[in-house]
């Protein structure tokens, strides 16, 4: 009912976003920073930004999310935020005593021209950064890109500020996991470890935002990539970056800075995506794929073949982040489903071309748009109905309005749990995705079946 006013007729909107399919850079930077051990993210701008980002992350992960703010006033917006930030750095190390402060900008501090390189240098010069402590930073104006861009920039900031080359190889593989759930990061690590490869994954939010309940509150949870490991990324044998939008900036920066070769892949979602990840690990580390991984793969293929009769020709609408949508589209197409409407809020021309390439042999027209919104997705669905909708929490409005089976996927998911504990990447994650898709479709089939066709075996 909420969206009953969405008109079917589509008009060009150049100046207006309705029901966004993205949010802004700083929250992505904050999420990435939480994947560094002992790190306190710091928002350089007004208080509200920090409060909103913390609330949204708290709601998504159901975990305490700590971050400090420069608390801009009217004065700071006129005279610059340098004194706020230097004072903030001093205060943060004095009270909260983190290992690292990860500073990101907001639209306000960017526009008044605060230069983080210069300000953090000043903080160092004035002795505000205790010995052995670190500051990393990234420029993340809210009016450029999206939360995915902010994530990418902060990960690149980790490389810029900390990665070092010492000529002594560490024998490890760098993995940049992309803007995925803590559970996904854990699974990406597990696959590499199953193959006997020692890795440095950054950022790593597993055990930070999906840690166990111990009855004790720790401001800095145990998980996260350590500063030592981040420094050491410059001595690794290679980097595997998963997801172009979220991870390539850091991988390329590390290649330039320390000469660590990188391989940029799509996210390992579904069979082919995971195959390519496993294969890249195999080649780069010169190892063979163990039976356990082959078995996981075989199980996924088995379930797909067992249930493929329910997939073919089903139309799907998907919204989310570009890296996830590309991998998801490939997976859906591979199990004979038709992703007919694909929307991301994140800007980027290449995205549309990639999706069209992946779907060009389908016997249906595919609508795809980057830098778009959920209103557009809804209008497309009104004009061409679908059998399934995959989107973040906000998709529930469309799903209810149009009575479509719905799977929550991506960021944010505010009204369900599980996403931070169960992966959707790798073969095991593929299995979970297939289960979710089948549940949604078959539950609808049960619900809609006339009494005489309501069957036990499906």
């Amino acid at each position: 009912m909420l969206l009953r006013h969405t008109p079917t007729e589509i008009k060009e909107r150049s100046a207006l976003s309705i029901n966004p399919a993205k949010t802004c850079q700083p929250i992505g930077a904050m999420y990435a920073a939480l994947g560094v051990k002992g790190c306190l993210p710091h928002s350089h701008g007004s208080q509200g930004c920090c409060a909103y980002h913390r609330s949204t992350l708290t709601r998504h992960y159901k975990e305490p999310v700590m971050a400090a703010t420069s608390s801009f006033t009217e004065g700071s917006s006129v005279f610059g935020g340098q004194s706020n930030l230097v004072q903030a750095i001093d205060n943060i190390f004095t009270i909260y005593n983190p290992e690292v402060i990860a500073v990101h900008t907001t639209c306000l501090s960017e526009t008044i021209g605060d230069d983080l390189t210069q300000i953090t240098r000043k903080a160092h010069e004035e002795g505000k950064v205790p010995a052995g402590k670190h500051i990393i930073y990234a420029s993340t104006p809210s009016y450029v890109g999206s939360h995915v861009t902010g994530f990418a920039n902060m990960v690149k900031g980790m490389v810029n500020c900390l990665s070092e080359k010492t000529e002594v190889k560490n024998g490890k593989m760098n993995i940049i996991p992309g803007y995925v759930e803590p559970s996904d990061m854990e699974e990406i690590k597990r696959i590499a470890s199953e193959m006997g490869i020692s890795t440095i994954m950054f950022p790593d939010t597993s055990n930070v935002l999906n840690g166990p309940q111990t009855g004790r509150y720790h401001m800095f949870p145990r998980g996260g990539v350590s500063v030592e490991d981040l420094k050491s990324t410059g001595d690794s044998m290679a980097t595997i970056a998963l997801g172009k939008t979220a991870s390539s900036a850091a991988a390329l920066a590390l290649e330039t800075k320390c000469g660590v070769k990188c391989d940029i892949l799509d996210l390992p979602i579904g069979l082919h995506g995971t195959d390519r990840y496993v294969d890249a690990l195999r080649k780069m580390a010169c190892v063979s794929v163990p039976d356990s991984i082959n078995r996981d793969r075989g199980q996924l293929v088995d379930v797909i073949t067992d249930m493929h009769q329910y997939f073919y020709g089903k139309k799907v609408a998907i919204a989310g982040d570009p890296d996830q949508l590309i991998a998801l589209t490939e997976f859906l197409v591979s199990i004979d489903m038709y992703p007919v409407h694909v929307v991301t809020g994140t800007p980027g021309k290449q995205f549309e071309k990639t999706i069209l390439d992946l779907t060009k042999h389908l016997p249906v027209k595919v609508n795809v748009k980057s830098h778009s919104d959920l209103f557009m997705l809804h209008q497309w669905i009104k004009n061409e109905p679908v059998d399934l909708l995959i989107a973040n929490t906000y998709g529930k409005y469309i799903a209810r309005d149009e009575d479509i089976p719905f799977i929550r996927y991506g960021f944010p998911i505010l009204d369900r749990v599980g996403h931070s504990y169960f992966p959707t990447v790798g073969y095991k994650g593929g299995l979970r995705l297939v289960e979710k898709i089948l549940d949604a479709i078959l539950e609808r089939k049960d619900r809609d079946a006339p009494e005489e066709n309501f069957e036990l075996v499906m």
Binding site: K11, T73, E74, P141
Partner: protein, 460 residues
């Protein structure tokens, strides 16, 4: 956790009754570098105005400000749902350089054509204040062209605290009365406006029903389940009844000055405060029939909930609560309501309390209670552990911290799904507190049980 240090700048914002003797420092910006729980001016304006369901709410700024405030508060509407959609001018880099006025104009005209709202509110965010878009003139122009009030809300985030956002919202509401005068000869009998009630979980509906049974007419609710036309008729009321004092007293004052409408401050939380609110209104009109209805209704309502509240009280007797909420007025009511169900308040604080509020808090709380202004999560956690609280009452960001410490939690802010207003609200509240405080899940933690065993071992 209990050994964290407190910044010198913050020492005057933390007060222990019986130990300290100073005036609370408050209503100041948070210290740079603190993990503050506070939001910004924009947030203040947005939460006050957005429950007006048949108005358009357009956020002029980068996408984040609109995305983070998209339908986050559960302000329910009995009719239109326009307020729950998210509209943004989605400012890009080029707009920041060349200005966003054209974009704002285009967005406004397109939206008004599409949704035909009764009024439009345009929220100016941080960045708009910095790049200097003339939001006022665009709004004037669109008002002239479309004939509906298009009202700028000056809510640039950096311009102060959330409280300044409330003031901007009051100013915007007041603008609705411009060029619109209801027929004052047709003033209804016993008519009031309800101010500072946002219909979270349907609370305005409960309160309206009490007044209906008393025989009091409601002209408008600002802004829960709000309608533009009702609000414009607000000058027809004889009394403004202000609940959320922090947000709406400003408007009540302006209306008193311009329309001569007096106002009273009330709270609909807890049995005592709800009863007092309803009696205050009845006494204001002084009508015998009205007073009789009121007293009968209140007696009936209390009789209805009393036995269960009493039984819950027996279960909770002596348990301790820590309260950290937005406005201080809410804190007063919570303190009384918690006492009503047998709980001791050991920590109490607010994000936006004024000096007067803290004076009152100091008077009404028990010795040893810690009173804090603008606390960080870490400070809260420290006090909660020190004072051995069994319950935390707070907002979104406090919930997982409480849970991590193995303590029950009750939301008194955005994530509330059950109405806590009025007599039935008190029963909901009591049940919720009991359910969380006495939940067996707190016994599942290894660490907490170890601590308990250790301490009981020492005692023996």
């Amino acid at each position: 956790m209990t050994d964290i240090s407190i910044l010198d700048e913050r020492k005057k914002q933390i007060f222990t009754k019986g130990n300290d003797d100073f005036e609370m420092k408050c209503e100041s910006q948070s210290v740079s570098g603190s993990v503050s729980q506070r939001a910004c001016v924009f947030c203040g304006s947005r939460v006050v105005l957005y429950p007006i369901a048949d108005a358009l709410h357009l956020v002029h700024g980068p996408i984040g400000c609109a995305a983070y405030t998209w339908d986050i508060r559960g302000a329910l509407s009995s009719g239109p749902q326009l307020h729950r959609l998210s509209f943004s001018t989605d400012l890009r880099e080029t707009n920041v350089i060349f200005g966003g006025e054209k974009k704002l104009y285009a967005a406004l005209t397109q939206l008004i054509e599409m949704y035909k709202p009764k009024a439009a509110f345009v929220y100016a965010t941080c960045i708009v204040g910095v790049i200097g878009d003339d939001v006022d003139s665009i709004c004037r122009k669109v008002t002239e062209e479309t004939g509906i009030p298009v009202i700028p809300v000056h809510s640039e985030g950096f311009k102060g605290t959330k409280k300044d956002g409330y003031a901007a919202a009051c100013q915007a509401l007041f603008t609705l009365f411009d060029n619109f005068s209801p027929n004052m000869d047709e003033k209804p009998k016993f008519a009031i406006n309800i101010l500072g009630e946002f219909n979270i979980g349907g609370e305005a509906w409960i309160i309206k029903e009490y007044y209906r049974r008393m025989g009091v007419n409601i002209i408008s609710v600002m802004t829960g389940d709000g309608r533009v036309d009702d609000i414009r008729n607000a000058p027809l009321a004889s009394l403004n009844v202000v609940q959320c004092s922090g947000s709406m007293t400003g408007l009540a004052k302006m209306m008193k000055e311009k329309f001569g409408i007096p106002y009273i401050q009330v709270s609909y939380f807890g049995v005592e405060d709800t009863a007092k609110a309803l009696y205050d209104v009845a006494e204001f009109f002084g009508d015998a029939e009205l007073l009789k209805n009121t007293s009968e209704m209140i007696k009936a309502e209390i009789a209805e909930i009393h036995p269960e509240v009493l039984s819950i009280r027996r279960q909770l007797e002596g348990r301790k609560a820590a309260v950290y909420v937005g406005g201080a007025f809410k804190a007063f009511s919570l303190l009384k309501a918690l006492k009503n169900i047998g709980m001791d308040v050991v920590v109490i604080g607010s994000q936006t309390g004024a000096k007067e509020d803290y004076k009152t808090l100091k008077e009404i709380c028990d010795p040893g209670t810690i009173i804090v202004d603008d606390a960080s999560s870490l400070e809260l956690a420290k006090f909660i552990i020190e004072k051995k609280a069994d319950l935390v009452i707070g907002g979104v960001k406090e919930r997982p911290i409480a849970y991590k410490m193995g303590i029950g939690f009750c939301d008194h802010n955005h994530e509330r799904k059950i109405p806590l207003a009025g007599f039935e609200g008190m029963l909901h509240f009591a049940r919720e507190v009991r359910n969380t405080v006495l939940s067996p899940v707190w016994k599942l933690f290894p660490a907490r049980n170890e601590v308990k065993k250790e301490s009981s071992g020492k005692a023996a």
